[in-house]
């Protein structure tokens, strides 16, 4: 048997139900792994060892009493540092929130707790989820588990590394332009961004509210489905949550009849690393072998989507982060007049990337420029959504590489914000359109992981996950 921290949630569930392992043993295995590796990797900002062990004990008691709450009962998970867990520090990787204690539970985390999950700790992230490398955390970078000289991707880099390095059985991330899928791709794990409206963001620190979505980061497709089933659903505290039918897994064993669209704008784009092309194309061949029909499609506005994103997102950032003003919580510079209190608290508390985006948004919303930037971007967003709707009349899924390249070296893109933004070229249009997408690892060959992105119709996570699972099983046979 594999070490307990290395198994999947589905495997752990089976062992728990059979009485072969306890939640306490699972939790201890994860805590031991954190203790031995996290000094070097820095995936966690805080580990709740005592609380986790106590929660595991309670779960074991429930199981002994025959009162198992859900598939996640007793499963040790990690959460990203931008989701509130009542009574625990929550900083969004920012100095401006150093010492901030969450006053209430975010809906997603509350649902995990009510399902009996064991929360191991909060994971590192780019400050306020702004970045693609986890280097923009005010608490130091997270390292790639296969090469400490490289970044794990971001912004959910801490959650990705916690899963990839077997420090937990699964984790939550958040995705505004690729922040679940890009680090999942770079670390060789599964990361699902659900449809906009599928999961409540109540208690998630808002970055760009029209794009933000919480999702699972896991070691296999089935685990992603288990977590999504738990955290999904309409929430009176988040008006954007949808009353669509709930997601239910619909596992298929063959892909016969499935039509997959390969946008030429992605596959024929310049600048894709050869390793990424080779690995993703090999995965496409497996999808085809499993019965899927591949068609080249036209999905216009691929480049414009990134531009739209880097206008809409900063506009919402500038509004959302106005609340960090040193008044009700977080850092406050004392002993000066009001304007200086605001301006100095914010300048000291925010990192450079956050301030850059606040200023970009302030500009794009300012009188004289709002039509040329914000309003124009909202119109192009409408065209991007139409392009996806049209593509999905023809195909069931759209497939692209998740990232143009594998994990890059630390510091490589730190002084070139545009190069960092281009990391998101294949992931952002998914958020701009609001559709669901998973990044899953291609064939494991011991090198830097490569991710394949499967994009589905609005609220059709079932097809995305079912197809990913067939591919996962084909790849594992090799």
């Amino acid at each position: 048997m594999k070490p307990l921290n290395e198994i999947t949630i589905a495997e752990a569930r089976k062992l728990l139900d059979e009485g072969v392992v306890t939640s306490k043993e699972l939790t201890k295995a994860c805590l031991t792994q954190i203790q031995s590796l996290d000094g070097a990797l820095h995936a966690f900002l805080e580990v709740y060892a005592d609380d986790a062990l106590a929660a595991a004990d309670q779960s074991d008691q429930r199981r002994a009493d025959g009162n198992v709450l859900s598939k996640l009962d007793g499963i040790p998970l990690a959460i990203k540092d931008n989701m509130l867990l009542q009574g625990k520090a929550c900083t969004a990787g920012s100095k401006i929130l150093q010492g901030h204690i969450a006053a209430y539970n975010s809906t997603a985390v509350r649902k995990l707790i009510e399902a009996g999950a064991v929360i191991l700790g909060r994971t590192n992230m780019d400050e306020f989820a702004m970045g693609s490398s986890t280097e923009h955390s005010a608490y130091g970078p997270t390292k790639h588990p296969r090469d400490p000289e490289r970044v794990p991707g971001g912004s959910s880099g801490g959650s990705a590394v916690a899963v990839a390095a077997n420090m937990c059985l699964g984790a939550l991330g958040s995705d505004t332009g690729g922040s679940i899928r890009q680090p999942a791709s770079m670390c060789g794990i599964f990361g699902l961004k659900p449809t906009y409206g599928r999961v409540s963001r109540y208690g998630l620190m808002a970055m760009a509210s029209s794009l933000d979505q919480i999702g699972p980061m896991t070691k296999c497709t089935e685990d992603a489905a288990i977590i999504l089933e738990t955290i999904q659903g309409q929430d009176p505290s988040d008006q954007t949550t949808s009353n669509e039918a709930a997601f239910k897994p619909d596992w298929k064993t063959s892909l016969k009849g499935l039509k997959i669209g390969l946008p030429k704008q992605a596959w024929q784009a310049g600048g894709i690393e050869s390793r990424v092309l080779e690995n993703t194309k090999a995965a496409l061949a497996e999808l085809e072998k499993a019965g899927a029909q591949m068609v080249e499609i036209d999905l216009p506005y691929a480049d414009e989507a990134l531009a739209v994103y880097y206008i809409l997102m900063p506009c919402e950032v500038s509004a959302n982060l106005a609340r960090f003003d040193g008044m009700r919580y977080g850092l406050r510079k004392q002993g000066m007049p009001l304007f200086e209190t605001y301006a100095q608290s914010r300048a000291e508390g925010f990192g450079d990337e956050v301030m850059r985006r606040i200023l970009l948004g302030t500009f794009a919303l300012s009188s004289g420029y709002i039509d040329a930037y914000y309003v124009c971007a909202k119109k192009v967003q409408a065209l991007i959504r139409q392009a996806y709707a049209k593509a999905f009349q023809e195909v069931d899924l759209v497939v692209t590489p998740t990232c143009p390249a594998t994990a890059f070296r630390m510091g490589e893109k730190l002084n070139d914000p545009l190069a960092m933004y281009l990391e998101d070229v294949f992931t952002v249009s998914v958020n701009v359109a609001g559709v669901p997408a998973i990044s899953m690892p291609c064939q494991e060959d011991g090198g830097m992981p490569v991710g394949l992105q499967l994009i589905g119709k609005w609220f059709d996570e079932a097809t995305v996950l079912s197809t990913a699972r067939v591919l996962e099983s084909e790849l594992s046979k090799q």
């Binding site: 009542q86 204690i101 969450a102 006053a103 209430y104 029209s210 009176p236 008006q239 954007t240 009353n243 506005y301 480049d303 414009e304 990134l306 531009a307 739209v308 880097y310 206008i311 500038s318 003003d325 040193g326 008044m327 009700r328 919580y329 977080g330 850092l331 406050r332 004392q334 000066m336 007049p337 009001l338 304007f339 209190t341 301006a343 100095q344 914010r346 300048a347 925010f350 450079d352 301030m355 850059r356 606040i358 200023l359 970009l360 302030t362 500009f363 300012s366 040329a372 124009c376 971007a377 909202k378 119109k379 192009v380 967003q381 409408a382 065209l383 959504r385 914000p417 545009l418 933004y421």
Partner: protein, 100 residues
Amino acid sequence: MKLSKEEIAHLAKLARLDLPEEKLEKITKDFGSILEYVGRIQKVDIQGVEPFTMPAKSEGWRPDKAFEVDEATRELILANFPERAGDLLAAPGVFETPKK
């Protein structure tokens, strides 16, 4: 589209960010390449296109009324205040003109 350092300084004032010279210079430089990149959307034909807005949901409305929280939650909220006067939030005076 290029912005001058003075225009960036004005945006920083609007956004309540007290930035030193060297950061203003760095951001001015970064803005050059970013604005050039995002400017490409202005070449898209958007004639007759309506800006995208999320469809409103009628069931999203709720009565605008305060709800009670338990004592522990209340204490957590108060404990996050940077400065407290008893159970009140202490803040600098608000009726002042910005100095810069």
